[in-house]
Amino acid sequence: MVPISWYLTLSAAIFSVGVYGFLTRRNVILMFLSLELMLNAANLNLVALGHYMGDLRGPILTFFVIAVAAAEAAIGLGLVVALFRNRRTVYADELTELKG
């Protein structure tokens, strides 16, 4: 059986990649992708821990996270579409109308 530490290490790595990607990428779509990586790192943790401990709470929370992530993606992409229609850009550093 694969030891639990492998899963946790993998999940920590995916989470770090997500955070790094979110902070360095300026394309909003790629920032969404990084967010999804962060959420899925958490999912991996939950499923692995739930399996390891024989506890159902982790997998149950995973279902909620998947549903929420879907809603989040819908709203996020909706906002990007609205932005693109008005401004013709999907780059975060071009969002400079509000500042001060």
Partner: protein, 482 residues
């Protein structure tokens, strides 16, 4: 939990207010899809729903749990839910004026607001991290949509996208921190969490500290505490003013409720670790909020920085880690809700399609054209500064007493110092209103909703300044069932 008979898994009465609001929200989705709905139906139904929910809140017995012990109805949640419902009510009252002013005719406006409040109520009541996450997301997703509702307005697009990105990023932190906590303790129930940490002697475990840190950072994002406040000014400025009013109060109160409950109920023995962390957040928030606010020329932006500073004050009571501190924070959040919503009600009253009422210059000489509006704005500014005998002063006083009793003299001194700095920009607005020549401006008549909202907030700000102990006693009472 296995001994619970199946029917007890879902008892209706502790979640009755939420159920009523969900039903109402769905009903409004249906109503909104009809092309010709009389203008006042949606706001009246929403306001009525908020009142019914408030009433139900006080008819259910304290200490009841529902949904497999995931939600609890206690004095603490009742207090915070009252803040959220009052915020909903006042926002609904000022919304019609604003929607007419900027021609924002979206039926989904009120539904989204109701669902956001349901999310907050779930968060406030949640004693299980799973339920907490679901409530948090319901609130956050609804508020993202509200911010971006004016989809042809490029400023609203930008604000909504920035809010969404920062909000989702912080949710990711929260979730990952949650998995670490779950992995180490094997539970998501807050009360069990404290027991397991003591039992397994985990309070110095680095992974648990990381988990707790991630959760604390996520909620620092949500309450707009520095150094995680970058999104706040942009979002407050770009969002429709009525939504900004709502956002400055309700999500913040709900997030503070969660912060207080999770830290005090789930991690009481780790106070030595989270106390200093929150102290740093609090000091930074007060410093950044109050100093940067001075440079602002847009009143919504100025109030955004002011709300960052107020998040700093409110954090003081939580980081004290005492019941006295937490009840001082609760008291302060209620007072802040009233004064912030009052100030935004005046902005809404002055707003028009061309963005009037948003620049600080628009307030020059306001006292000559609209003396009553100027007088009320003066009252709210005094209260936000913390000048006696307004409620803002009493709220700050109790926070300072609580933090000094907990032995943090330096924090109290910092709070007083930064509060003195804040007088500069709050009173500058007063100077603009009273000591400048008026530009030709229309004399405005208060609409019914704005007048009603102002009556409630003025009454609250004045009454809580004169009889301050009433709410504090109520908050202290609420803590007993904690």
């Amino acid at each position: 939990m296995n001994a619970v008979p199946p029917l007890m898994l879902f008892s209706v009465s502790p979640v009755a207010p939420e159920l009523v609001l969900v039903g109402l929200g769905l009903l409004l989705v249906g109503i909104a899809s009809f092309p010709k709905v009389p203008k006042l139906i949606m706001p009246s139904v929403t306001a009525l729903g908020a009142l019914v929910a408030l009433m139900l809140l006080y008819t259910t017995s304290s200490g009841a749990t529902s949904l497999m012990n995931m939600l609890v109805m206690d004095g603490y949640s009742r207090f915070f839910k009252t803040i959220c419902l009052v915020a909903l009510l006042l926002t609904v009252l000022i919304s019609e004026r604003y929607r007419t002013a900027v021609d924002m005719r979206h039926g989904e406006y009120y539904c989204l607001m109701i669902f956001a409040v349901v999310g907050m109520m779930v968060m406030i009541s949640a004693v299980d991290l799973i339920m907490l996450y679901v409530g948090l997301e319901l609130m956050a997703l609804s508020v993202y949509c509200l911010v971006g509702l004016l989809k042809h307005d490029t400023r609203a697009n930008e604000a909504a996208l920035k809010y969404f990105l920062m909000g989702a990023f912080s949710s990711g932190f929260f979730l990952y921190g949650l998995t670490l906590i779950y992995g180490l303790t094997g539970t998501t129930q807050l009360s069990e969490l404290a027991q397991r940490i003591a039992l397994l002697d985990l309070s110095a475990n680095y992974a648990l500290l990381a988990g707790l840190g991630l959760v604390a950072v996520a909620f620092a994002f949500k309450v707009a505490a520095a150094p995680f406040h970058m999104w706040t000014p942009d979002v407050y400025e770009g969002a429709p003013t009525a939504v900004t009013a709502f956002m400055s109060v309700a999500p913040k109160a709900a997030s503070f409720a969660v912060l207080g409950r999770v830290l005090m109920e789930g991690f009481p023995m780790m106070h030595d670790q989270w106390g200093p962390l929150l102290a740093v957040f609090a000091l930074l928030s007060m410093a950044v909020g109050n100093i940067v606010a001075i440079a602002q020329t847009n009143i919504k932006r100025m109030l955004a920085y002011s709300s960052i500073a107020h998040a700093g004050y409110a954090l003081l009571g939580i980081l004290a880690g005492t019941a006295e501190g937490l009840s001082a924070t609760m008291n302060y959040l209620l007072i802040y809700a009233l004064m912030s919503l009052g100030a935004f009600a005046i902005i809404v009253h002055l707003s028009s399609r061309d963005g009037r009422g948003e620049r600080l210059e628009d307030y020059k000489g306001l006292a000559q054209d609209n003396p009553l509006a100027a007088l009320l704005m003066l009252l709210f500014m005094f209260s936000l500064t913390g000048i006696p005998p307004t409620a803002g002063f009493m709220g700050k006083l109790y926070l300072l007493i609580a933090i000094m009793n907990a032995g943090h003299l330096w924090l109290a001194l910092g709070a007083v110092l930064f509060s003195a700095i804040s007088a500069y920009y709050y009173l500058r607005l007063v100077r603009y209103m009273y000591m400048h020549e008026a530009k030709p401006a229309p004399r405005l008549v208060f609409s019914f909703g704005v007048a009603a909202a102002l009556c409630v907030s003025v009454f609250g700000v004045a009454a809580l300044g004169v009889v301050p102990s009433a709410v504090l006693a109520w908050a202290g009472q609420a803590m007993l069932g904690f």
